[in-house]
Symmetry: C2
Subunit: 354 residues, 2 copies
């Protein structure tokens, strides 16, 4: 019998953290080929070496996860076609913008029996419509795709701090097949079937964490922050049931790691919060702060707020999501940060989107 | 027609913060007598004056909420019988231990049409049984009693920071009558009918916040803290459905202010967390830390964990609540704080209760 084989598409901070877990787990699973191929974009490191060679020589991703040893059975591969060929467990953990291009190169190279799992937090928002990352994968590759999301900051996972995460598949029996590849005593996986709300939580939590950052910038306390995290969860659930009425979004999902725990974790620990706090305290634009604090990386919460607000404006129901709209209006300097405290006031009527 | 009249039984930190809100609201409600009588235990202040006289002269509770002006229509009354006589809206916000004694003095003095609302966070645990505070009030006074709970730290409310709170009555139409007495643009009330889970959340959040304090003491990150807050909410819901199977506990309640928001607020901001962190960092006993940090006040989370663990041990199902049991075992030095990371390990079998 042919052994199963895992490949990973992507090797950034989260990809490398997961490579550590997956490599270690798969090495102990006799039904799997122990080699985990990890597609790694072949960029040059500061010392002039190629990151692919560096990972394979030193078993460490010196650029994206320095100081954390990777298992020796994790093999960096610089060519995406080479990395996925013949693999039936496909882990997708590439930056969102590279996804369609990479998937198209993979067509025809993976077995028909393959399944995929996305670790890309969020959904694809385009004009007046939303699609999930997992739908994109299934459309292009023609295989079932689930997602893994939860309160799991990559560095916490890499350093084996206790984390939980949630795997969702429309068919949860596929999720159960994936579970042992990720599950460890300190990275505990639960499988659910609510793939849509799970992925929406992954996008919307960044929006509301931006709002919590504004509250921190205003010097407000724990009661207020807790209230806004709660309201954010409520708006997320409302949106999920409105936009995806037939997908079976469940309230239970909000109580999984991908729900409440990820909202908390991101609202207290993430970079959206940090930049939003600095935005209020310094008066600088978020674009400036992205350059200063994030070295040019884009703030996911600000982007997502803009895209969702645009969609809601086109559909004419933006007043149903006053906190989301208010956060977007603050981020784009349409209103003052302190207006977040009157988030359901008349200012919402004045929403402008580009 | 006789006007309604509100009295408050209790004038501590939370009582005084609520007196500010209630006094201000009632003054604008023509169907209410504008005077809000507040039972205040007639203790001596440091300057030798009586706190009752001091509140009425300076319109400030100099001991428990210094610096916050109280409305002039809030009248401190040093005698509990005098305070409640003829009042049909009874707000109960006294420390738990004084509750039965005070209630017994009130018998026969309040109209049959009166209703009460408890702001006492928590439930009464005795040996192998639990009763809610609102049941105690109804038993002694023979009137319907609801509760107000949520992520509302008294000082945040007193300083008009944005907060939310949840009113629960078995008959929610009574809750709607109470709502305008508390509701303001920055203290937003929602009414529900799940009185049991609402009050259980008020007790159990202190237990799990103690656990989060241990995690802080161990220097762990946001992913881990978020996971344990989530697990705490899950155990609380499980307990509610097991112990009160016929009370209609609802998952929705966990998504109200009394649920997720209060768990977050207490886990990040409260004194249970603070003392538990110091317990791990200093190696001192919690009793010592209560003296040092809380000026002798008792830690509610530690007390509640002990009482619930005892009940679960007697009933034989403590293994169903491994995080709660682990927190109790750590607090009583049966196991090391780091064991919280293996909260569902075999140590749970060794639970000892006094």
């Amino acid at each position: 019998m042919t052994k199963h084989q895992v490949c990973m598409i992507g090797s950034g901070n989260m990809g490398s953290a997961m490579a550590k877990i997956i490599g270690s787990n798969v090495a102990n699973m006799p039904e799997f080929d122990p080699i985990v191929k990890m597609y790694t974009y072949p960029e040059k490191l500061d010392d002039g070496s190629n990151i692919v060679d560096s990972i394979n020589e030193f078993h460490e991703n010196k650029k994206y996860l320095p100081g954390v040893p990777l298992p020796h059975n994790v093999l960096a591969v610089g060519d995406v076609k080479e990395s996925c060929k013949g693999c039936d467990y496909i882990v997708i953990v590439t930056p969102h913008q590279f996804l369609p291009g990479l998937l198209k190169q993979m067509i025809g190279l993976i077995p028909e029996t393959a399944t995929a799992i996305s670790l890309i937090k969020g959904v694809t928002l385009k004009d007046d419509s939303i699609s999930t990352v997992t739908d994109t994968v299934t459309e292009i590759l023609g295989i079932p795709c689930g997602a893994l999301m939860g309160a799991n900051i990559a560095n916490d996972c890499a350093h084996e701090q206790f984390c939980e995460s949630t795997i969702a598949f429309k068919d949860p029996s596929l999720g159960e097949l994936w579970k042992p590849i990720f599950n460890t005593p300190v990275f505990r996986i639960k499988v659910i079937d609510d793939l849509v709300l799970q992925q929406l939580c992954g996008t919307f939590k960044n929006i509301y964490a931006t709002g919590v950052g504004f509250l921190d910038g205003l010097g407000l306390g724990e009661s207020t922050k807790a209230a806004f995290i709660r309201i954010g969860m409520e708006e997320t659930f409302k949106f999920a049931n409105w936009y995806f009425p037939d997908s079976g979004c469940k309230m239970e999902t909000l109580l999984e790691s991908c729900g409440v725990a990820d909202f908390i974790c991101t609202s207290y620990g993430g970079r959206n919060r940090k930049c939003a706090e600095a935005f209020v305290k310094t008066g600088k634009s978020l674009e400036e702060l992205e350059k200063e604090i994030l070295n040019g990386q884009k703030l996911q919460g600000v982007l997502a707020a803009k895209e969702v607000a645009t969609l809601l404006k086109i559909r004419g129901n933006f007043k149903e999501y006053p906190l989301l709209v208010t956060i977007h209006m603050i981020a784009t300097k349409q209103i003052e940060p302190k207006m977040i405290l009157e988030y359901d006031g008349d200012h919402v009527d004045q929403l402008k989107v580009e």
